[in-house]
């Protein structure tokens, strides 16, 4: 019985414009197993699963559920086939109770009998070992409780196949253990489960089999008992892509930014940076590696004066001997700017934070410079010239300088942003995922710009997801895991395997 395939994907291909997100992917899920889908960011895991849950529709290929070929055109179709997906971003109504969220959208009696519903939910939760109070409101719940609601919602609708997208990304280790217990208990009750992840240790701990995707392509499936961290990394990352990044020897290296014992909590009160200490130097590129959501964003924002710092210090040295030190941890972004510290920041959310989508390129250039001009009026001449320069130098494809940046393609948006940030000849340059969504040529243009800045004496910090790139671009790499620094390595000597281990909180495994 356990050998029946509940899902079979055959030659499934999905394209977004010119980008092939999934290229001829084959996949099977057996009844009563936990299958991990492993891959780096951007390898097409989520896209593939969204085709099972009815969010996307495949361009080519077939999907079979319980042996029958099916068309899944909407989430409702997926429900009807017994497929339920738990997305990374929860879809819950805050002011309603767990039970009300669970039955939302279902048809049935006009009058709601919440007692009845809550009893059914209690039965379901005790069967699988969930810890959930059905009458609790969502807004008073922790992230893991909300996730439980999402899972129960799917089960309540009679799902036999559950897909979880990075379910542990938001959980503490203890909560992860609890989730895994529940998943095992569901498997033992005959449910089939797919879990999307890029955490190797979790793959080994929870799953029966592992399917690996790389750059949209299906690489293969192995039984977990035959796999090791090393063998999976090999499959996930693949052959080393030879990169020709012109990395020079660091010159005139001097201490520029020093972080001491930094602790940050996010708006939800979650402890996102724990006791971070490191030094970033002028004249070198410091890579920041880590599984996404492990504190990279908050670290850069804290340095940039955009996070509320709970404790710790961020110091900025103008000279190596430290005769002038600015305490960045006491400043807001505006204060840093007013002091004339040339700190540039290319944030992850380009249109949500770095740029104003509805404004044109010139007006977006002004975000950094409008305060400089004397008087109460803005100077548009200099930004206009800068906009022209950036467009020309970085080969931005745009109808005109007056085009709102929202209408540009992702790569061109990024060029505008990076172009602006390096235009001020920064002393500190922080970039987050600088090449996400960019094609190969644009990516290389960006790498070369970062190297140029390093040679010009800037202190460059680069958050990246492609370990090959980080290893050949950076001088040192700091690895974050669970909001802590799990290691700082020399990029010229380190290996992807070493980084991978550090990223998964390696010290505990080693």
């Amino acid at each position: 019985m356990s050998e029946t395939n509940v899902i079979e994907l055959k030659n499934v291909t999905k394209r977004f414009g010119d980008v092939v997100a999934n290229d001829n992917v084959n996949l099977t899920l057996r009844k009563g197993e936990i299958l991990s889908i492993l891959g780096e960011n951007g390898s097409g895991k989520t896209t593939l699963m969204n085709m099972l849950s009815g969010i996307y529709f495949p361009d080519e290929g077939t999907i079979r559920v319980n042996g029958k070929e099916v068309l899944i055109q909407s989430p409702r179709d997926a429900f009807d086939l017994g497929i339920g997906m738990i997305h990374q971003h929860f879809k819950l109504i805050n002011i309603l109770t767990a039970a009300e969220n669970i039955i939302l959208g279902l048809s049935g009696s006009v009058r709601l009998n919440m007692k009845e519903v809550e009893k059914e939910i209690d039965e379901l939760t005790s069967k699988y070992g969930f810890d959930l109070n059905p009458s609790q409101k969502i807004y008073s719940m922790s992230v893991s409780q909300k996730q439980t609601v999402e899972i129960v919602k799917v089960l309540y609708r009679g799902a036999e196949i559950l897909i979880l997208d990075e379910p542990t990304a938001v959980l503490t280790p203890q909560e992860t253990d609890k989730l895994f217990d529940v998943l095992r208990s569901m498997r033992d009750n005959g449910k089939s489960i797919i879990i999307i992840t890029h955490k190797l240790n979790e793959v080994l701990e929870i799953s029966d089999r592992v399917s690996v995707l790389r750059k949209g392509k299906y690489i293969g499936t192995v039984d977990t008992c035959d796999a090791t961290q090393e063998s999976l990394t090999e499959m996930m990352v693949g052959e080393k892509v030879s990169l020709d990044i012109d990395r020079s020897k660091p010159e005139n290296v001097e201490r520029r930014i020093e972080v001491r014992g930094l602790n940050v909590r996010n708006n939800e009160g979650y402890h996102v940076l724990k006791d971070i200490s490191f030094t970033a130097n002028a004249g070198e590129i410091l890579g920041i590696a880590g599984i996404s959501g492990n504190g990279q964003k908050e670290l850069l924002e804290a340095i940039g004066g955009l996070q509320n710092i709970e404790s710790g210090e961020i110091l900025y040295y103008t000279k190596h001997d430290g005769n002038v030190i600015e305490k960045l941890h006491q400043m807001e972004a505006g204060d840093i700017f007013d002091l004339g510290i040339r700190l540039s920041f290319v944030p992850e959310d380009r249109l949500g934070m770095g740029l104003v989508g509805s404004m044109d390129i010139t007006d977006n250039m002004m975000i950094r410079s409008y305060k400089k001009s004397p008087g109460i009026f803005t100077d548009r001449k200099a930004p206009h010239k800068l906009a022209g320069d950036v467009v020309e130098k970085l080969e931005v494809v745009t109808p005109s300088l007056e085009t709102p940046v929202r209408r540009l393609s992702g790569g061109n948006v990024q060029k505008v942003l990076v172009g602006r940030e390096i235009a001020s000849a920064p002393r500190v340059l922080m970039v987050a995922y600088p090449v996400r969504g960019l094609d190969i040529n644009s990516s290389y243009a960006i790498y070369n710009l970062l190297n140029e800045q390093k040679r010009a004496g800037a202190c460059v910090m680069c958050v990246g997801e492609d370990l090959d790139v980080l290893l050949s671009l950076c001088d040192r790499i700091l690895v974050l895991a669970g909001g802590r620094v799990s290691g700082i390595v020399n990029a010229r000597e380190s290996t992807k395997e070493e980084l991978g281990l550090l990223m998964t909180g390696g010290k505990e495994n080693a």
Binding site: R76, V356, Y370
Partner: protein, 348 residues
């Protein structure tokens, strides 16, 4: 997104946000909307009054521009509506829903009335006028700061807050009417300084409304410059688009909210002075007369300003016509922003 329903051969209306639209096309759409609305109005007029709609329209136009005096009144009404709309623009650009123009106008009007009553006959006219304009702007400003403060620090819903502030202002006016009542028992303030004309706007360009027109033009130019060329104008546009980006750019979001509402309230307060000191020379609860609301619509559809203001007449029948006109103008913006294509869905 593929549509959920896959019955074949169905007619599907697909809508898509336009990337850009030529000015000519946008205005063609708006003009069509105006024509359509006039036709609908004509049908309504015939259905209700059995009158020739053309005569009714002629009557409205006659009422607006029939004599020199009427032209000036129309101009006055138009510029006052314009200055309120201009005052609302900064707030709206910041995505702050200032529904409180009505109250801000009343407070500005109350301030001018107070100055006219207490100082109008004591001060030389230029001094009195400067005081009237300055103090009424401050009064409107105060009325704008209150909701801005609560928005900035407590994130209070500004639409509802400013709406309520309008009625608090109305009652303040009612209170003042009791104090300033003239003659006693009339429950009105009457024409203030009707003999001395203390604090009245003097004739400029041969009309008592000339000064108002001048002030409105100056304010309009200043606000346009503020919005398009000043650092403040730039900052409030960034805040309106995304508070995250504003923080990133080192903008103090709370300050910008309060500062912008100061400005917005001040211009509306000034409009109060133009109405009281420059036109009616009295104050009542209908001093604002819904202009604060009409101006919101005007400010929202800045592209269609002229059309909307030209019908800013205060007859009940023309309220209906204005309403229908506005519905069409508001509705047509959809067709300016979206492209509809109707096609038969292919066989699945």
């Amino acid at each position: 997104m593929s549509k959920q329903n896959n019955t074949s051969g169905r007619t599907v209306i697909h809508m898509e946000k336009r990337n850009s639209i030529s000015r000519k096309k946008a205005w063609t759409i708006r003009l069509t909307a105006v024509l359509l609305s006039l036709i609908v109005c004509a049908i309504v007029i015939v259905a209700i009054t059995k009158q020739n709609p053309l005569q009714v329209y002629a009557g409205i136009i006659q009422g607006a521009v029939g004599s020199k005096r009427r032209i000036w009144v129309t101009v006055r009404e138009t510029v006052i509506l314009l200055v309120i709309a201009v005052g609302l623009v900064p707030a709206f650009r910041m995505r702050f829903w200032n529904i409180g123009a009505e109250g801000q106008i009343l407070m500005g009007g109350a301030a001018s009335a107070a100055l006219m009553i207490y100082l109008g006959n004591k001060l030389p006219l230029p001094v009195a006028l400067i005081l009237i304009i300055a103090v009424s702007a401050v009064a409107g400003m105060l009325w704008g700061i209150i909701p801005a403060f609560f928005k900035a620090y407590f994130n209070t819903n500004e639409t509802l807050f400013t709406l309520m502030m309008n009625y608090v202002a109305t009652q303040i006016i009612n209170f003042l009417i009791c104090i300033w009542e003239n003659p006693k028992g009339s429950n009105t303030v009457g024409v203030i300084n009707s003999k001395t004309k203390g604090g009245w706007f003097p004739k400029v360009f041969g009309s008592e409304y000339g000064l108002s027109v001048l002030i409105v033009l100056v304010v309009t130019v200043l606000i346009t410059m503020y919005m398009n060329y000043s650092k403040h104008g730039y900052e409030l546009a960034v805040v309106g688009e995304s508070t995250e980006t504003a923080r990133y750019a080192g903008i103090n979001v709370k300050n910008v909210i309060i500062r912008t509402m100061c400005l917005s309230g001040a211009v509306c307060g000034l409009a109060g002075a133009l109405i009281v000191s420059g036109a009616s020379h009295t104050i009542s609860t209908s001093t604002a007369g819904g202009r604060g609301f009409t101006a919101i619509i005007v400010a929202w559809m800045s592209g269609s300003i002229q059309i909307a203001t030209q019908f800013g007449l205060n007859e009940n029948a023309s309220d209906i016509i204005t309403g229908i006109l506005l519905f069409f103008l508001i509705g047509c913006e959809f067709f300016v922003n979206y492209k509809l294509s109707v096609y038969k869905e292919k066989e699945a």
